[in-house]
Symmetry: C2
Subunit: 441 residues, 2 copies
């Protein structure tokens, strides 16, 4: 196993330049690059690796080039994503590209308006390169995407294409969505950073819901700076980047969660090695006391996600039941139709209380270290992997980031996950810098 | 001023039979009515009153009749809304009817799928009669709808058409949405029951967001039984109707809110008379102690709604700014674009804490009495009225019901509002029966 010295290096697949969004915007600002050239550059990567990766369900190369030329000719003040090619998961509406929600039911359908997140990134000068593959309705039935580090392995899901596109260097930033583990897990499997914000932080308008009480728009990128650029575009262009804290200022919890035994030896070693490295760098590291926030959490998560998902897809249940996959029909939808409203309400009460408990647990902890997934990407494309290590943070609405800091013995990325208190996203992202630097030193 | 003896009587406008949904389903079950006849019946009311009320932006009479005939010919088990004609607010997606969000930008656009709430009501045997007028993007710029009790007065908004359609007897049940006061206020103005559930209770998939952290689907009807039918269709068909509690079992708070001075003398008298009547019937009635839940509430509400709304409509800001009304552009959108992310997060923290405070405040109170609106519907169609008395319950995610129990001296309805603890919707609706019976005795 080797730590990854620089995740922005060419990947196993793409022995081509793959600039970060930060590098693109800086080069354009310095007059050393045009938006058109930035788009042409990523299209060359796409031509090389997409035939093996299948990250895109729709590629809008001509439109992207046209937008880039318009940006190059405009005299407007540059937005924070000026000239940056972007990928959007196929469950995020776009007015100029089809949005099929990962289902054959909606192949070729184009919504009448952009999702809020898409429009906000366009306002900031971002260029939509295309729509990335989603599992069916952001549940489990996979699309065609392969892992860019080894195409015999899953890229994870449900944001399969966004993770693979960023991991293969086809685009520096892509949006995904997470209802259980659908941003953090595929990002970890594909060797990129994945960021799931505090619930409700990035506007969900125009995203097809899965479980409205958990659905969160997230960001894939190859460096912390690019996650911050996305936040500035999506939230508020005046957001400042906090400096990376010194390790000796940090109070870090090791959070094994109730599922620690499900983590591979490689993954357990990664978490403990990170703890050791941060402690050696001066951080206070201790076992995280979650203050009871995990009591009944898994059953509450299942009750809420099943109940809401089965109702979210009521239209398809009525009109297109035969076009739904067996795993969707017989899995979460069937579970949800068995759920009683009283159990749903009871689960919602449990979660509301658990969120307050976790707030208090984070009062004396800057962030926790925990696995991003049970291990590296499993072999095969049918199973997108387990979301066990993501479920707590999504259910409890806290921000989480996965950091691609190591490869396993087979050369596949392992993701370290850090999570922090609700609404403390800025602090968590600044701490991510310290963790990355510590693991690479 | 007179109390209203039976709100299901013919309204000022519609001197025609106007069955409730409960009456329709019972008559069909008894073989005394067909779904086709039920639809034909409401279409006769529509023909009579719609030219003055303008509740519908799209009427699907032929489709509704065809669906009714199909139901009449089917041998399926009857759903809980079997044969009930329904209205859906124009910001709720329908796959077979245009959905324009109250904006000329989307005139004639038809979404590719039904909202969850629409599909769930169709699964339950409900018949979509059409789409009801919404203000522009569920904000303030009004549509053409008039108040069915006096067409020179506003029906309220943003669910203008749903409230007016139910109030005029054109449909027994209609769905609306509430982000501040958009279900309770128009229901009160139009003399019908309005029910805003606990946040997230009715699935929001397929509803155009306004402020995702507050948006709630709500129900308009003319009796409590019909609200329960809608809940069974939308939540769980096994939900039982709780019996009306005896007044002497109830602990009732009078909640003047910080805005009591904004209520008209008529409205203040209605709330205090209701308190007196319930006390005479044996209830414990006292001033509600909201345990600090209202501290900084109005500013937190404005910060969250402005911030989210301005981002929800980023697509229109980018592509159709000139087609937005001045009140939208210069009001909530401009406010929201001035909001800083840090202030938004601070407001979200305030609200999370206020919700816990209100939970504890309701520990010893079954429900509170409060105005549904400052008074009866204002004259004129330009201003849809103030949501001051609705904002607390929407921001704090609690259920609220308005009950049409009185008319003012001009003959316009006054709504009494009751609200209860989060997730205690069933208890609140059963208490609504007791309040209605007490006020009519």
């Amino acid at each position: 196993m080797t730590n990854i010295p620089n995740i922005t290096s060419p990947t196993a697949f793409a022995d081509v330049p793959a600039r970060t969004a930060t590098e693109i915007t800086q080069a354009i600002a310095a007059g050393k690059l045009t938006a058109s050239a930035a788009v042409a550059e990523v299209l060359r990567v796409v031509a090389q690796v997409e035939p093996s990766v299948h990250a895109w369900i729709h590629l809008a190369a001509d439109n992207a080039l046209a937008h880039a030329r318009a940006l190059d000719q405009a005299n407007d003040e540059h937005g924070v994503l000026n000239g940056v090619p972007l990928g959007f998961k196929d469950n995020i509406d776009t007015f100029d590209m089809p949005t099929a929600y990962g289902s054959s039911i909606y192949t070729g359908k184009t919504p009448s308006r952009d999702a809020a997140s898409v429009a906000l990134m366009r306002i900031a000068g971002g260029i939509a390169l295309g729509k990335t593959v989603s599992t069916e309705f952001a549940h489990r039935h996979p699309g065609a995407t392969a892992n860019p580090w080894n195409p015999a392995h899953t890229p994870g899901g449900s944001s399969s294409g966004s993770a693979a596109a960023v991991g293969a260097g086809m685009v520096p930033i892509a949006l995904g969505t997470q209802t259980t583990g659908s941003v953090i897990r595929p990002a970890a499997y594909c060797g990129v950073l994945g960021y799931k914000p505090t619930y409700a932080d990035i506007n969900v308008a125009g995203v097809l819901p899965n479980t409205p009480s958990f659905d969160t728009v997230g960001v894939m990128a190859r460096c912390v700076d690019d996650l911050l650029l996305a936040r500035r575009a999506l939230l508020d262009s005046s957001i400042e980047s906090l400096p990376a804290p010194q390790a000796n200022q940090l109070r870090i919890g090791i959070c094994r969660t109730p599922f620690w035994d499900a983590a591979s030896a490689d993954m357990q070693a990664l978490v403990m090695d990170a703890a050791t490295a941060l402690e050696h760098a001066g951080a206070k590291v201790f076992d995280f006391d979650e203050a009871g926030a995990f009591v009944d959490l898994e059953s509450a998560n299942l009750a809420v996600s099943g109940y809401e998902f089965a109702r979210t897809l009521a239209h398809e249940r009525l009109h297109a039941y035969d076009q739904l996959s067996p795993i969707l029909r017989d899995g979460r939808m069937a579970d949800g139709l068995r759920d009683k409203y009283a159990d749903y309400v009871s689960a919602q009460r449990t979660l509301a209380q658990a969120r307050m408990r976790l707030d208090s647990a984070f009062a004396n902890v800057d962030f926790i270290l925990t696995p991003a997934a049970p291990g590296a990407a499993p072999a095969g494309l049918d199973f997108t992997g387990s979301a066990t290590f993501n479920m707590p943070w999504t259910s409890l609405h806290t921000p989480a980031v996965t950091l691609p800091v190591r490869r396993d013995s087979a050369g596949l990325p392992l993701g370290l996950q850090i999570a922090g208190a609700r609404y403390a996203d800025a602090q968590l992202l600044s701490a991510a810098r310290t963790v990355m630097a510590t693991m690479r030193s």
